[in-house]
Amino acid sequence: MKRPPKLLRLGVLVYVSILIGAPLIFLFQQAFRRGWGAFWAALHDQAMDHALILTAKVALIAVPLNVVFGVGLSLWIVRRPSRLTRILDRLVDVPLAISPIIVGLILELAYAQNGWFGPAIAKLGWHVMFSLPGIVMASVFVSLPLVSRQVIPLLRLLGDHQEQTAATLGASPTRILFTVTLRSIAWAVIYGVTLTLARVIGEYGAVLVVSGNIALLTQTLTLNIGANFDNYNAYQGFVGSVVLALVSIAVLLVLSIARQRERRRSEYLA
């Protein structure tokens, strides 16, 4: 096999450095140009702290919801296929192609005070817009397919012989689910969970519309960053950005490990 020309390698490295590397480095430089002290102080800004907590709350609710949904749906689609599941398979991927602003818009149309279900929800004393439930819904929407897109192909590849064997060995359906099925898709689920977490934490447009961007109340970390920039508070915005960038890098690391582990396990499968 001939190696590609060195020029190509150089070209790609230059391109990626300028497009991705430079902004990343610049981001860190901007956040730390005033030194550690200022950085630390900025982290304790009241609005940012509140945003951090809110983002964490949203993640803690939205991610498990989507994982349970994603795994359940995947098992259903692969193990009990029907015309309905074929439609569901397509439907689940829809959120990926929708602009985040549109996501926010349609949730508003359906669940705001003057929306379809608005009055019904208000009667129950709940709020969707400008509050946590709405933000959670928006986060769930945009990350809906991320787990199932990882799990479905793996389930298809694995087949169900392992589960059938476990049945002949005396295991009950529940036992099979926990000791065989879930464990065999573990790394794919981890990969999907990580992607979901990244997406939920990083969502901007959809949450912007749904939450109303009210500082100290319904402002997630991403909104906080945006607001800071709009108010010419760039430094504060960069500090928040670095926090998220560090999370993203951690996410990449986990993804990389999950990818390796999964590849090693299924080396002989395909």
């Binding site: 192609a97 602009s99 912007l208 998220l244």
Partner: protein, 248 residues
């Protein structure tokens, strides 16, 4: 399942009803406003440009990642996913500061199609790379080796054998990138400056319509944008499948 309909189906239905609330006429009026057309045109052109550029760059990157060996290859492989993992707003504000009025490298592309296209390129690079990479990895060299023994030069082999084999995956990746790009908000809204008729992207326009209370118009333009995204995906995927079938 109930979960799915609550989150996806009902809101989508609400969108459709709202868009056509005032009848077909109001829908048509909303999408033919000059501001709408300008925004859509800008969005489509920048997205297409970025997607096409990244089709080339993405394939080249995948090539380097699969067929080359060098120090730092692992880092490159991991960093390609950064635009996937990084929040769009972080990319948006960074690009604005780096290539805007306060640019340390004295490059100011705010409010221009260049700035918007640049931001979109950042966000869409991973799509083509990750689409082409697995196909490239599973490719054996037999066909290429055979061509070489028949006297073809590397360039010729690439053009006539490798590229056609990769084309389906390149198309799928580019289609995904394009569809994602036309809805992009967080990463472009800062550097675009949002000047109506001049540098406003489609998602921004929809947002401004919705915050100013023109919900029906917002819904109409949103429906159009969604429709375009689906058409784009369908076209790219169909062409990709057609090509793949011919090859296989």
């Amino acid at each position: 399942m109930l979960y799915l309909s609550l989150i996806v189906l009902i809101p989508l239905a609400a969108l459709l009803t709202n868009a056509f609330n005032g009848g077909l006429g109001s829908f048509w009026r909303a999408i033919t406003q000059t501001e709408a057309i300008d925004a859509l045109r800008l969005t489509l052109l920048c997205s297409l440009g970025a997607a096409l550029l990244n089709a080339v760059a993405g394939t080249a990157t995948a090539w380097i990642l699969v067929r080359d060996r060098f120090v730092g290859q692992g880092v490159l492989n991991a960093i390609i996913d950064l635009p996937f993992a990084l929040p769009t707003v972080v990319a948006g504000v960074t690009f604005y500061t780096l290539y805007g009025p306060l640019s340390p490298v004295h490059v100011n592309v705010t409010g221009t199609w260049i700035g918007i296209t640049l931001a979109i390129m950042f966000v869409t690079l991973p799509f083509t790379v990750r689409s082409v990479q697995p196909v490239l990895e599973s490719l054996t060299f037999n066909a290429e080796a055979a061509a070489a023994t028949l006297g073809a030069s590397s360039a010729h082999v690439f053009r006539t054998i490798t590229l056609p084999t990769l084309m389906p995956s390149i198309l799928t990746g580019t289609g995904l990138a394009f569809a994602r790009a036309i809805g992009e908000y967080g990463s472009v809204v800062f550097i675009s400056n949002n000047l109506p008729y001049r540098s406003e992207v489609a998602s921004s326009y929809i947002f401004s319509l919705s915050t100013s209370g023109q919900t029906n118009a917002a819904a109409s333009v949103a429906v159009l944008l969604l429709f375009l995204a689906l058409v784009v995906l369908a076209v790219f995927n169909l062409t990709s499948t057609r090509l793949a079938r011919r090859g296989a």
